[in-house]
Amino acid sequence: MGIRFVLMVNKQGQTRLAQYYEYLNLEERRALEGEIVRKCLARTEQQCSFVEHRNYKVVYRRYASLFFLVGVDNEENELAILEFIHLLVETMDRHFGNVCELDIMFHLEKAHFMLEEMVMNGCVVETSKTNILSPIQLMEKAS
């Protein structure tokens, strides 16, 4: 099923966005996020972007104060996911204009909308930025 979850976490380890593509209950989520965040945040720039954790492989990327962590299973192409993160960031950039942690934090719903357009059921569904952003624009027009 490819992507299992997408997490955005800041340097302090606070979750800014969490989207799961398999159902985990709250306990499991809390434990998983804690462990993964601890593992990934401790890593240096010189280390690779892949961390193995339980049955996941976490592909992560850091942008300023924000970490993007994507949990995938073994059938996923790591580099493609790494660039998927970048695509997500570029899409957010296009919408917010030089996106920062606060944009995501205060526009949680928009971040969710974008992700929803890009990933469905753990598969990448759309990679064209225009298409990804069209529902948001639609809504902004409506309101």
Binding site: R29, Q46, N74, E75, E78, L79, E83, F113, E116, S128
Partner: protein
């Protein structure tokens, strides 16, 4: 005021009080309850809820609000409702049901944006009810020409989710053509989704989708040539890597599937969610449990073999498709350059790695293959950590798929450097790769590298590392002393991470190889010199020195006394689990000291005395027993002699790895390793030539003379020691049966954990073998005399009927369309009186009826005359007298024949005049039991055996079984609740009434093994009884699926009721 603490409440109450009418009151209450929220407010609260949930607080209210928003008419509210619902709820949530109708209306409605939202929700959550009610609609949307791509891409993934979760509900018959059409799609969003869907469909049924293969290759071609790719879908100049990767996967699945089916192999349980990369990562997965159960249905070996075989298999058959595919691959392999832009570089390499994965499995030319290895070799040396990581990962995969060992070995030094990388992810990959590439030629280097790394490795990796090192050392040891060195170093450096299995294994090796014993003892002695050693090391060295320190006694510093004090000074530092081993060591050292050393003896005895009152039962017991034994002096030397050789067996490590339920990463790798062929360096060979340099790969265990009885396999030495000293079961050797003074070869030593293989008759009488078999054996017992007689088939399962009759005294012995033979028996002491009821079921007489008894030597059987004809629908009775002469499990056989018309039917039936029929249950009190038990002090009157492969049953079940066998279970005699003590009296002419005592010790952790001690006053009886009980425990007649018995009257074990009375049965027939 009384409510001073709750102003808000007072305000609310006064508000209500001030309301003019009912309507105002209702509005106020609604406001308080939040019912009057505007859609805007609702939306706001629902987002807040999601935010709170994301922070990790449990939100168990408000779900209803989120779901209710789904039915809001406006897009913004609806969208929130859908998104939050899919975040908060799972498919089993009750609230979801409330929304099904709205969701369906949205999907079949005209509003595209609503359709998208609804499809996304269903695609993310799935659920059977959704699948049942929505799948046809979703399918229609996907292929509808009037739908915009926007909707269709979502429909594709929605269908994928429904299909994955409930493939039985979604009807995809005839979808191959549709999928082929969909692959021509121009829109990249739809194409991306459709290819994902295709992966799932192909995994479930590849044959149907064969026509999609050329289309996939076409897509790849188009992408690789960068032809006709919309700007929006290129990423840093690379055509969407996310789309590019998927067709590779499809092709790969096709390949593997094709292979598996055309080879006629077991079809792979590849579930719909499994993409092909799953086939490789057995070795590389860095993760724990695989979610996909089906994946583990295929053994690693099979997978690897399949992939190897793939190289010799004509794969993509259409030459044009094949040429295009190879062109694409070649273009990617050659044309991927390292560029400055990180994103572009990553994107192009993402595609490259996917291409590599495919090449590995394709029937590629040698040249292309070596290109791949060269690329990977380059990757593992670059500075960029991601590429290095993936290089290592893919090299491990490649290793498992193709024969590139030798080329990869050239990179060994580079890989070892990666083992010291600061990044744990890379170190893990390097470790896996080293583990995978290890063979006899480089084992020494690699294992030593691992050992060296062990001291600096982080804790997270140590256990994995030590297990891998131990396995490699065992598999590829160039010589045994090296193996011992490695394991001891392993324990020394990472004792906490070395599981018991590892040290048990080294003890086994040492025990089984005489040449190794002095060396191991010397090594153990060296480690003991160190000021602080790990407890596991203490256990191994104490054990080895206890067994073999006398081999060193001539060396300086190795006298028994010195060794003893060396060990004993560590005693205060060890835990209670180690003390018993030390006590055994002391006892053994003491015994080996010749001539006896008075000082040492008094010292050791003092220790024993001290521990005789120890609170730990194990320690106390050993202290008491060793003390008592050692006081007997030389007479009991044998008991403390060296342990006999262990029966050869699979490595417990590898077995453990293979059996283990927990599929952590390393274990799945180990599993694969265990299943690989030709990797066994420690081949079990015959006694190796003394001092000779044995050829590499041929080294190893001295073959132990295989013992006759199965199930003596004692899992560990430690266990053996423990058991051998069980309270009731210390078996003193009979002076007469004490064999040769050659202690080393003394397998019959009473301390041997196996039952003495030599005692008792070994040749199993031929008839008895019939009784051991299940259906097959019995099928043989029915031997039709003539061709045409074959048409007469017995009704019901003869074996089952027989086994049932072993436990009860009346029932049907045999039945076919013409005759039914019932039996009724009475037993008194060693006499039995059986009556055979021969019932003719037909309207024609049965002619030439003959019954003969073929008695074994132990029974005297007299059958009264059998009439030659049985009239139609009549029953005749034939009494049968049985006298049991002496104990034996042999059976009497009834040779029965008759003629029906021209058909001659002849059957040979075992008579249920079995061993246990001569039992008379008897209760014994402890006052009677214990003296008797003690007086029957050892072989051949008292026999003990560890039985393996026992049908697992609870103690209560076993008691019931014994009860059925007329053996009386005596509760309360054994203090241990896991044990069972039983008694019975056996009658035969030679033995008369003979008391038999039985003790079963079960292991609650492993119900398939137990230890059985049987005692009686007659050696043959003891042996026979032991074997008999063993048969009952091991091969209990499992209720076989009888070939549809016409009359279900003979239910094994069921208490006989009226219908099992043959008379009544026949009466019913008449």
């Amino acid at each position: 005021m009384a409510l001073s603490g709750m102003r808000g409440l007072s305000v609310f109450i006064s508000d209500i009080r001030n309301c003019q009418n009912k309507e105002q009151e209702r509005l106020r209450v609604d406001k308080e309850l939040g019912n009057g929220l505007t859609p805007y407010e609702k939306k706001k609260y629902v987002w807040k809820m999601l935010y709170i949930y994301m922070l990790g607080y449990d939100v168990d209210f408000g779900h209803m609000e989120a779901v209710s928003l789904i039915s809001a008419p406006k897009y913004p509210e609806k969208q929130v409702g859908y998104i939050v619902t899919s975040c908060l709820l799972n498919e089993n949530h009750d609230f979801l049901r409330l929304a099904i109708n709205t969701v369906r209306n949205d999907i079949i409605g005209r509003n595209e944006t609503f359709q998208c939202l609804a499809l996304t929700l269903v695609g993310n959550i799935g659920g059977r009810e959704f699948a049942e009610s929505l799948a046809p609609d979703v399918q229609k949307l996907l292929i509808s020409s009037s739908c915009r791509p926007l909707v269709r891409k979502k429909a594709a993934l929605c269908l994928l989710c429904l299909y994955r979760k409930n493939p039985d509900v979604v009807n995809v018959d005839g979808w191959s053509d549709r999928m082929a059409q969909l692959l021509d799609e121009r829109d990249f969003g739809v194409l991306t989704s459709c290819v994902s869907l295709l992966v799932a469909l192909v995994s479930n049924n590849h044959e149907a989708y064969w026509s999609c293969l050329p289309k996939c290759v076409k897509i790849l071609e188009r992408l690789a040539r960068n032809q006709d790719i919309p700007q929006e879908y290129t990423y840093y100049g690379i055509p969407s890597p996310w789309l590019q990767n998927v067709p590779f996967v499809v092709v790969l699945i096709m390949e593997l599937k094709l292979l598996s089916s055309s080879r006629g192999q077991v079809s792979y349980v590849i579930s719909s969610t499994t993409k092909v990369k799953h086939w490789k990562p057995v070795v590389v997965v860095g993760c724990g449990k695989d979610i996909d159960e089906g994946w583990y249905g295929v053994t690693g070996l099979q997978r690897v073999k399949t992939m190897r075989a793939l190289q010799y298999f004509p794969t993509v058959e259409d030459p044009n498709t094949r040429r295009s595919l190879f062109e694409v691959l070649q273009r990617i392999l050659m044309g991927t350059d390292v560029v400055k832009n990180v994103n572009k570089n990553n994107a192009s390499h993402a595609v490259l790695f996917e291409a590599l994965a495919l090449v590995m499995h394709l029937d590629a030319e040698k040249e292309m293959m070596s290109q791949c290895v060269a690329l990977l070799g380059k990757f593992i040396a670059v500075r960029e950590p991601n590429i290095r990581y993936l290089g290592l990962e893919n090299m491990t995969r490649m290793l498992m798929v193709t024969d590139v060992h030798d080329i990869i070995k050239r990179h060994q030094a580079q890989i070892i450097t990666s083992l010291k990388d600061p990044d744990i992810s890379i170190r893990r990959r390097a470790l896996d790769l080293l583990y995978g590439m290890c063979d006899v030629s480089n084992a020494k280097d690699i294992v030593e590298e691992l050992l060296q790394y062990l001291s600096t490795a982080d804790f997270a990796m140590r256990e994995e590392l030590s297990l891998k090192a131990a396995i490699l050392a065992e598999k590829f040891a160039p010589d045994l002393s090296w193996y011992v060195d490695v394991i001891l170093q392993l324990i020394d450096k990472a004792g906490d991470f070395v599981s018991d299995d590892i040290w048990f294994r080294v003890v086994q090796f040492v025990t089984n190889n005489e040449d190794l014993q002095p060396y191991a003892a010397l090594k153990a002695r060296e480690y003991l010199d160190r000021p602080a050693i790990h407890e596991t090391m203490m256990k191994v060295s104490a054990y080895i020195l206890g067994e073999y320190s006398h081999l060193l006694s001539r060396r300086p510093g190795c006298s028994p006394k010195e060794i003893f004090s060396l060990i004993h000074e560590k005693l205060p530092t060890v835990s209670t689990s180690t003390i018993p081993i030390l006590l055994s060591t002391y006892a053994k050292i003491l015994m080996h000291t010749q001539p006896p050393d008075q000082e040492l003896q008094s010292h050791v005895w003092a220790i024993f005395r001290k521990y005789e009152s120890c609170i730990d039962a194990e320690i106390q017991q050993r202290a008491v027993e060793y003390h008592a034994l050692s006081m007997k002096g030389a007479a009991v030397m044998d008991i403390l002699a060296e342990m006999p050789k262990f029966p050869e067996r699979q490595s417990s490590l590898i077995k453990k790895a293979a059996d283990s339920e927990a599929d952590t990463a390393e274990q799945s790798a180990i599993k694969l390793r265990a299943q690989q062929q030709n990797s066994n360096a420690l081949v079990v060979t015959d006694q190796r030539p003394a001092n000779g340099t044995p050829p590499v790969g041929q080294l190893g265990l001295v073959k132990v003379p295989s013992t006759s009885t199965a199930g003596q396999d004692q899992s560990t030495a430690e266990q053996g020691v423990t058991h051998a000293n069980g309270a009731l079961t210390v078996v003193d050797p009979q002076p007469s049966s004490t064999p040769s003074p050659d202690l080393l070869g003394d397998l019959l030593s009473p301390l041997a954990i196996e039952g003495p293989p030599g005692t008792g008759p070994q040749s199993v009488p031929s008839v008895a073998s019939v009784s051991e078999g299940g259906v097959n054996a019995d099928a043989l017992a029915i031997a039709p005399v003539e061709e045409q007689a074959k048409t007469v088939q017995p009704i019901g399962n003869i074996a089952e009927r027989f086994h049932a009759l072993c436990l009860k005294d009346s029932g049907v012995l045999y039945e076919d369309p013409y005759i039914q033979i019932g039996i009724k028996a009475e037993w008194r002491a060693h006499h039995g009186r059986l009556v055979l009821f021969l019932g003719n079921k037909n309207t024609a007489p049965l002619m030439s009826v003959q019954a003969k008894i073929l008695p074994p030597s132990n029974l005297k059987v007299e059958l009264s005359l059998v009439p030659e004809t049985i009239p139609p629908r009549a029953q005749v009775q034939c009494p049968l007298e049985v006298i049991n002469l002496h104990p034996s499990r042999d059976l009497a056989v009834l040779d029965f024949s008759y003629k029906f018309g021209t058909q001659l039917v002849n059957v040979k039936l075992r008579l249920p005049a079995v061993f246990n029929k001569y039992f008379q249950p008897i209760t014994v009190s402890p006052e009677e039991f214990f003296p008797q038990w003690r007086s029957l002090s050892g072989p051949p009157l008292k026999l003990q055996e560890v039985v393996r492969g026992v049908r697992p049953m609870l103690l209560a079940e076993m008691a019931t079984l014994f009860d059925g066998l007329r053996i009386m279970v005596c509760p309360g005699l054994d203090p241990n609740a896991n044990n069972l003590v039983a008694s019975t009296t056996f009658y035969s002419e030679s033995t008369r009434a003979m008391l038999c005592l039985i003790r079963i010790e079960t292991d609650p952790a492993d119900r398939t093994q137990l230890r059985m001690t049987v005692a009686s006053g007659d050696p043959t009886l003891t042996f026979e009884l032991k074997e008999f009980i063993k048969e009952q425990l091991v091969s209990i007649p499992i209720p076989h699926q009888a070939p549809a018995p016409m009359l279900p009257q003979s239910q094994p074990m069921s208490p006989p009721t009226a219908i099992s009375d043959p008379g009544a049965l026949l009466a019913g027939l008449l």
